[in-house]
């Protein structure tokens, strides 16, 4: 059985949640997010992130501000909005549920 498609579907479903988790701890700019996600082996291609960030922002879950940088071009720092916090806590609960289900089925 080819598990690649299933794996990529799983990753896709998790990606938004993971981004929000990262931003919950501190506000980040794209490079930070990419590095963290690559460390966690969540994304392969960097470009994947941008449509997601744009969608989350349009849904009002994220906000951003421009900050000048001494190291290269100005950076967009993303933060979680109040709506975003709310959505994150809902996703936390549903993640708990999923992991409980999987653990239950495994045992």
């Amino acid at each position: 059985m080819n598990t690649d498609n299933t794996k990529s579907q799983m990753r896709k479903g998790m990606l938004e949640y993971c981004i929000m988790l990262l931003l919950h701890q501190q506000s980040c700019y794209a490079n930070d997010i990419i590095q963290r996600l690559q460390e966690a082996e969540m994304i392969v291609m960097e470009g994947t992130l941008y449509p997601l960030l744009s969608r989350l922002k349009n849904d009002g879950l994220l906000g951003y501000e421009w900050r000048e940088s001494t190291q290269g071009p100005p950076r967009k720092y993303y933060t979680l909005t109040a709506d975003g916090q709310e959505a994150l806590s809902q996703l936390d609960a549903s993640w708990e549920e999923i992991s409980r289900t999987v653990n239950f089925l495994k045992s």
């Binding site: 896709k12 291609m45 960097e46 449509p51 960030l53 071009p73 100005p74």
Partner: protein, 289 residues
């Protein structure tokens, strides 16, 4: 040795090779075209341009002096091309659209199967040999049709802007049909016209020259050859284009002049003959009255 240009990316200057610049600009434009169609998509394209700038900055800090084509390829590979990004980021509209296409095409398949079976029933009254022959011919015609249909669907006609004597119509035909050297098409067209079989050819040529677009961007040239517009193909095309073909064209100046003279030699007698024939028909007509 390569020509080098300097670009300004968000306030920082970079020296970049010409072919690398073409590739990079192409990439950014393809992003703008792809995401620009979606709501809030310009922002995504802009974010990606910022990312490119950042990756270039990092490389410069690490001691890079000029941006070459390998660097740009590396950057494109790390960020990914538009279609890959849309697929990986779970573009739901895209998924729905491709599913719709799938059902539509399978519907068409079912319909053609239905036609085929009724076709066979009608043929059953004939002898088996004839049946087989008809089937073979049908299959052959269908294969040829499918092949032609696919070719028309994947290829687009463009005049060759970089390999032309007059308008690049003949070299465009050579690329489009993927058959023969442009020279064969040119000589063929001239020969047919001279033999009198292809009298309308000069007019068709001029019309095609006026109506069809010239292949200018690397994307045009990929569509012309029926290749998919992927970063690999684009990269390859940009590299191919950076080979100096233009130099070859300058030597063709005298050939061009000769062809124009031949063209005039053909067209003038033609006009003369038409006038003569017209007069002859006129005379016969009036004589009959």
């Amino acid at each position: 040795m390569k020509k080098n240009i300097s670009i300004n990316l968000f306030g920082t200057l970079y020296n970049i090779d010409e072919d690398a610049y073409n590739l990079l600009e192409n990439y950014l434009q393809s992003m703008q075209r792809y995401f620009g169609r979606q709501e809030g998509g310009e922002e995504v394209a802009d974010d990606i341009e910022h990312r490119v700038a950042e990756l270039l900055w990092q490389r410069r800090e690490a001691g890079m002096t000029a941006v070459n084509i390998e660097t740009v390829k590396e950057i494109i590979d790390t960020i990914g091309n538009a279609e890959q990004i849309a697929r990986e980021s779970g573009d739901r509209e895209q998924d729905a659209k491709s599913e719709g296409q799938y059902t539509k095409s399978s519907g068409r398949y079912a319909r053609s199967q239905g036609q085929e079976s009724s076709f066979k029933e009608n043929l059953n009254q004939f002898a088996n040999d004839a049946n087989r022959f008809a089937n073979d011919a049908g299959r052959f015609a269908r294969d040829a049709y499918d092949k032609g249909y696919n070719h028309v669907k994947t290829h687009r006609y463009y005049r060759c802007a970089n390999d032309k004597i007059l308008g690049g119509v003949c070299s465009g035909m050579a690329v489009y049909t993927n058959a023969g050297d442009p020279l064969v098409w040119r000589l063929g067209a001239i020969a047919l016209t001279l033999l009198g079989i292809g009298l309308p050819l000069p007019i068709i040529y001029i019309v095609m020259w006026l109506v069809t677009p010239a292949a200018i961007t690397p994307e045009d040239r990929l569509r012309q050859q029926g290749k998919a517009i992927t970063p690999e193909n684009l990269t390859q095309q940009v590299m191919d284009d950076s080979e100096p073909i233009i130099v070859k064209n300058e030597n063709k100046g005298c050939l061009k002049a000769i062809l124009i003279i031949i063209g005039i030699c053909i067209i003038l007698p033609l006009i003369f003959f038409f006038v003569l024939w017209g007069k002859m028909f006129f005379n016969i007509f009036f004589n009959m009255l």
